[in-house]
Amino acid sequence: MSRLYQPAQSIESTSGDRGQPLSFQWRGEVHRILHLGNRWRVHLDWWRVEIWREYFQVEAHTGFTCVIYHDLLTDEWYLERVYD
């Protein structure tokens, strides 16, 4: 099961040269990313309020598994889903 955060939680993240996240900080805890799962892009509504995101399914060194995304328009990172 998983929990979807709506709206997504803002996080601070460091990213590698290919745009992949290396680590992120959420609720004062730093999560180093050990494993990158799925990675996909969503580009929608360019004619209205544009949405352009890159999603990552990640597993941190703490065992924390979640879905985070990079807002490519504002260059901000968000945490959207946390898996049990």
């Binding site: 099961m1 979807l4 709506q6 709206p7 997504a8 969503v42 929608l44 959207e80 889903r81």
Partner: protein, 425 residues
């Protein structure tokens, strides 16, 4: 609506005679050998004339008619022959409803362009079945199922009797009430009251029939008047109704699975409502991304087609799986379908006990901590690319308080003043 009913009189006997023509016009009893323990399954008119009846013991049959030819029952053979007959009928209508193991109803509305008037259509049906099965078929065409069946029963071999629209009551008038599909008790009471023909029954006021025989009587009265609203239910619609959904990406959220399953059940129920049917068993099958399948089912305490009941059953079923892996497909099926009976709608709330308990709990918690504790989820678009567009979380409506709270200005004013305020308005 135009309905045709076709059947083969003494079906089992006709199948046996087809294989061995020497049995024709002889006293034949099907059910087993006379020394065997068992009952008579089918009897030829010649044996019937001597007093042998379907259902009596074989030993009794032998005593009554010792010269009869006794044959074992070969139900598989009869079933195969019946399938042949249904296959021969398939080109005439997509809606074929088997009736017992000797007849079938066909929905034949709008076939004039293809087959001409009903008489010609009837001839075509008889010829097609005869050519495919070599069985003597008999039929009837009328505006409803009951009249079509009686027309076939009263007709002659290898012919189809057509009852013109509006002539149903006249056709049934002189026929005995024993042809009505009623219980033995009602048949006995009709006999006691001296009601012998359908015309007599049809001429009675509906209220009197209802008072005397209840709902069964009202139904019989309608049939005797040549009114039958039941639909021809095709073979496809008779089997379990099922619908499935394959997810593009395997899913593991139970809420999504529950919502999908509920949507599927609503679609299935629309089909059931159309045919006036109810289901007795609900099952959900999950296909995991590993390829494994798992099925769980619930037998309903009583057959139902209520969205609320079926929805709850589906919800419970989805929640009962263990979910070792992610789900790639889901199937909902409604089984044990039977003809539904009308029921009186309640004047009061039909919410289940469980829902009422949830409502009360929500009202109590909201009253104590505020309405921000709860959000109501609403499915928007299951396939939206963004998860937040798949469903919306809404603030629930403020619960109704059990004790009416006076508004501020009302509390401030004495009763008399309050009334005066109303008068001034």
């Amino acid at each position: 609506m135009k309905v045709a009913y076709v059947f083969v009189p003494h079906f089992a006997l006709a199948v046996e005679e087809r294989e061995d023509p020497s049995l024709k016009r002889k006293a034949v009893v099907i059910g087993g050998l006379p020394h065997e323990k068992g009952n008579v399954y089918e009897v030829s008119p010649e044996a019937s004339e001597q007093g042998v009846k379907v259902g009596m013991s074989l030993r009794q049959a032998e005593e009554i008619c010792p010269e009869a030819i006794f044959l074992p029952t070969r139900e598989e053979k009869y079933r195969a022959a019946f399938e042949e007959m249904l296959k021969a009928l398939e080109p005439f209508s997509p809606f074929i409803e088997p009736h017992g193991l000797d007849g079938a109803y066909l929905e034949v509305s709008g076939l004039q362009r293809l087959y001409g008037p009903e008489k010609r259509l009837g001839r075509s049906i008889v010829e097609a079945v005869k050519e495919a099965t070599h069985l003597p078929i008999r039929g009837g065409i009328a505006r409803n199922k009951f009249t079509a069946r009686i027309a076939a029963l009263e007709g002659t071999d290898e012919k189809v009797q057509v009852i013109a629209p509006g002539k149903e009551r006249g056709f049934l008038k002189e026929l005995p009430v024993t042809l009505l599909p009623t219980s033995d008790e009602m048949r006995g009471r009709l006999h006691l009251l001296g009601i012998r023909t359908m015309g007599q029954l049809a001429s009675l006021p509906k209220s009197a029939v209802l008072a005397q025989f209840g709902l069964e009587g009202r139904w019989a009265n309608q049939l005797a008047r040549g009114q039958d609203r039941s639909k021809v239910i095709g073979r496809r619609e008779q089997g379990p109704q099922e619908l499935g959904f394959r997810f593009e990406d395997p899913v593991e959220e139970m809420q999504v699975l529950q919502m999908t399953a509920k949507q599927l059940s609503v679609e299935l129920l629309t089909r059931l409502h159309y045919y006036g049917r109810v289901c007795g068993k609900v099952s959900v099958t999950l296909e995991y991304d590993t390829g494994q399948e798992e099925e769980k089912q619930i037998a309903l305490s009583e057959p139902s087609a209520e969205e609320l009941k079926i929805g709850l059953a589906v919800e419970r079923l989805v929640a009962s799986f263990d979910y070792g892996d992610r789900v790639s497909a889901l199937k909902v099926s409604l089984d044990q379908l039977t003809q539904g009976k009308g029921h009186q709608l309640s004047l009061f709330s039909t919410r289940t006990l469980r829902q009422r308990r949830i409502d009360n709990a929500v009202a109590n918690i909201t009253g104590k901590y505020g309405s921000h504790c709860f959000l109501q989820a609403q499915l928007l678009d299951l396939h939206a690319a963004l998860p937040e567009r798949r469903f919306a979380l809404l603030r629930p409506e403020a619960p109704t308080t059990r004790f009416p709270v006076k508004r501020d200005h009302e509390q401030a004013l004495p009763t008399s003043t309050k009334y005066r305020v109303h008068e001034w308005r």
